[in-house]
Symmetry: C2
Subunit: 491 residues, 2 copies
């Protein structure tokens, strides 16, 4: 992995002076084009061994380009708000919007490598992290993000000399920390672990670029040229960046889908309903107050046909929970900031802190429902969403979250009855719009999309619960029971 980066590459000052002016103009020019057409974002990851000139390189890149459209983010110890969410949350919040460049310094690679070098994690944790990273980078590439991963390398001998030189010079001595000596003593292991992780994470859509860090001229120009050429290539390619076309989904030839098998005639009488509902609501409120829950989160997602009863069910779930502990996020059209980020960004930003509950009224599944049906995204986009979503939910679960997903199913007659009732009740009229009638005409398509969604995203960690919803009482009780059971099991 690092052989070519121990050859003592260098570039004379004369050559450097000759190359740099054009390189700078080129970089500025490309950067402004990027900003102007705002089609994609650029992420530059800066990693490597200590002393290989990472921070100087970032400084030079900021000087060569327009730093107003670069966000350089360093990741030190996570803040408490970050610690209480899945590990990748802090990186999601730092993703640059389309049109901008993000330089991530101490990126998602640092922790897995350092932890493994110091043996604070096991090998299988590392493999887990690598998988999460591959998922994230795959998603970024599919969203059109240009991802440049730089690894600045120094041979063992060079690193020793470098730290020594820095320490001797009064102007730079402050930069040599105790940690450096510690890291140096781990050089061999560090390089071994890094090489393995680099190999596992080098892909056509996000290859590693290993740069020898010995000579500053060589290092700066290599980084600058790589960025310029890649960026130019991407800017010239006016086609929407696309994943390979996925095969079409063929519905079962006998047309039997999971939703058809639901028994929509299930009902619960009023007396039993009230009694059970009271108990379940009280129990849920109690569970959320348990000391053990302070280290956990609950994330609920509600999907279903219009008028299937999502809003009413959510109110029943929330009723007895301390309102300070939950948030309900109704999902409609994304804001423009949300639109300038990868699809899942708007949901990541809403993930609860520990001890809290977030209830999504419609959710990230919009990607494979309304966006699929209305053609708001390509087939490639919604096809890859299945695995992106699975990965997203897995990360929530792994960081102490319970994920409950509900599909509320009614039949077409029941929907019509409810639409008409809504039109008659003054404060419900706002709930019925021309969109609802339009969507109703696409009933079959929605059922089709929902069936695919359930097949592809019902995982052991985050299973779908299908709710027969013609009878609201039956639906609400089943939802409450499911949540109470899930939270009980998690504690």
């Amino acid at each position: 992995m690092f052989e070519s980066a121990e050859l003592g590459h260098k570039l004379s000052d004369k050559e450097f002076q000759k190359i740099v002016p054009d390189l700078r103009v080129g970089l500025l020019d490309a950067q402004y084009q990027l900003f102007k057409d705002g089609r994609f974002s650029v992420i530059i990851l800066i990693s490597g061994v200590r002393g290989a000139g990472k921070s100087e390189t970032v400084q030079v890149l900021n000087e060569w380009m327009d730093p107003r459209h670069i966000e350089t983010v360093a990741f030190d110890a996570p803040t408490d708000e970050e610690r209480e969410r899945p590990p990748l949350w802090r990186y999601w919040r730092a993703l640059p919007p389309r049109g901008k460049v993000g330089i991530l310094f101490g990126s998602w690679y640092t922790q897995p490598i350092v932890d493994r070098v110091l043996r604070t994690t096991r090998r299988r944790d590392m493999i887990q992290s690598v998988e999460e990273i591959n998922g994230l980078e795959r998603m970024l590439a599919d969203e059109g993000t240009l991802l440049l991963k730089f690894w600045f390398h120094l041979s063992k001998k060079r690193q020793k000399k470098r730290l020594h030189d820095l320490a001797l010079d009064a102007e730079t001595a402050w930069r040599v920390e105790k940690r450096d000596k510690h890291f140096f003593s781990n050089y061999d292991r560090f390089v071994k672990v890094s090489a393995e992780i680099l190999e596992e994470t080098s892909h056509a859509h996000a290859p590693w670029i290993v740069v020898e860090g010995t000579d500053t001229n060589y290092r700066y120009v290599t980084a600058g040229k790589t960025i310029l050429e890649t960026l130019r290539g991407r800017l010239a390619d006016k086609t929407k960046p696309k994943a390979s076309d996925p095969p079409p989904l063929i519905p079962p030839v006998d047309k039997v889908r999971v939703l058809d098998k639901l028994d929509l005639s299930l009902i619960v009488p009023k007396g039993r309903y009230e009694e059970e509902m009271d108990k379940l609501q009280g129990r849920l409120a109690q569970l959320i107050r348990e000391p053990k829950f302070r280290k956990r989160t609950l994330v609920c997602a509600f999907e279903g046909m219009d008028a299937a009863g999502k809003g009413g069910a959510i109110r029943r779930v929330a009723k007895e929970i301390d309102p300070r502990m939950y948030r309900i996020i109704p999902i409609s059209a994304p804001s423009d900031e949300e639109r300038s980020h990868p699809y899942l960004w708007r949901f990541w930003r809403q993930l609860p802190r520990q001890g809290r509950v977030t209830i999504f009224d419609r959710s990230w599944y919009g990607r494979v429902l309304v966006e699929r049906i209305e053609g708001f995204c390509t087939q490639a986009d919604w096809m890859r969403a299945y695995s992106e979503i699975n990965e997203f939910e897995e990360q929530i679960v792994r960081s102490g979250g319970t994920v409950c997903k509900f599909w509320l199913q009614i039949d077409q007659d029941e929907q019509l009855r409810r639409f008409k009732a809504r039109e008659k009740t003054r404060f419900k009229q706002f709930k019925i719009t021309p969109d609802d009638w339009r969507n109703r005409k696409k009933w079959g398509q929605y059922q089709e999309a929902a069936a695919d969604m359930i097949d592809r995203t019902s995982t052991p960690d985050a299973p779908w619960t299908l709710i027969e919803s013609n009878d609201k009482r039956h639906a609400r009780l089943k939802i409450l029971k499911t949540i109470v059971n899930a939270v009980e099991q998690s504690l």
Copy 2:
């Protein structure tokens, strides 16, 4: 203050049952109207003595209204991200967007009251906090926010009984904490301090509503009715909420303004420039690395006519600073999320953490420059912006920030020369747009607005530095010197 809330108000169950159905329909109806027309946001503050039923009331409000459009936020101990910013930052980030209801539980009143009751702050700190609160609420009212401040009260006798009852009941005993007993022993002082703060913060635009908390029926209906009536009144009033019309600003009758007095012929020769610039940049980078700076922040704002050299100056300021430590925020049109919040929200959200630097390329002063001149806001809006801005900067300074504000002044000939040069350089062409030529025609208006801005917002804590910018070298050196001096003095 609390006399009327110790009378033993109550409402029979029969009356309650009679009132509630209509009240709920009314509330839902009003809430949907609010959501649909999205003209303003509603903030409901919940405060009061312990045991007066605050959380139950919030629960009932969430039940009566649609909780999907309510954000209930509780403020416990601040997170570390919050602690490293001005005290009001955490409230700014919790402000609901227009169209939504925010219930703030443990609002900006809690800390000042508790601190004063426990004597961890002095009287003058409390007065300071009250001033900040008054500024915030005045701004919210001017932005059209409907602010409802509830104080739930219990007499001493009632509080004692209430805590006793809760503790006896196995179902509610968990709610009585050690703190409660502690607070109870401070009842008299708590009421005294609260009464004083309530008096100082009760204004026509944000009056306190004191509600006796003894009887649940009375308490819920009073809260619900108050919200409904106020909200209905505001929804019916289709006029844009406005502050009283301010008097017009009369320019000095001799037409001599501060910007005319600048000596734009000042120049610095190249040799001296390079030498001094190197030194200043090195010094600034060093200051930012000082251990003492880890408890401070630096906020710079750059304003000036188009082509006055803001971008170039900013690059010189940033050049030697570790890119992980600073962010440059170029300000252009607000995003739709930003537009749905009070004007200063977009700047609050960018305030740096401790040890960091934020440089704004154009800033909150857009309100009194381009927005004033282009009529994007009313005269009342930009007139009040002067004091809102002063208050904003004061809070940054009080929490350990250094604020440097630069106005870069060139003359019209110089601007023309630069516009033409930009049109000739390929990678600068993007920098010159039809807007620039349009703005140039409004030269006089901009000078006028800038002069007013400088007069009204140059404060001892955050003074303007006027930069003669016909010569870029002179301009950049003066800027660097100003920043270096300011940071040096702050450490």
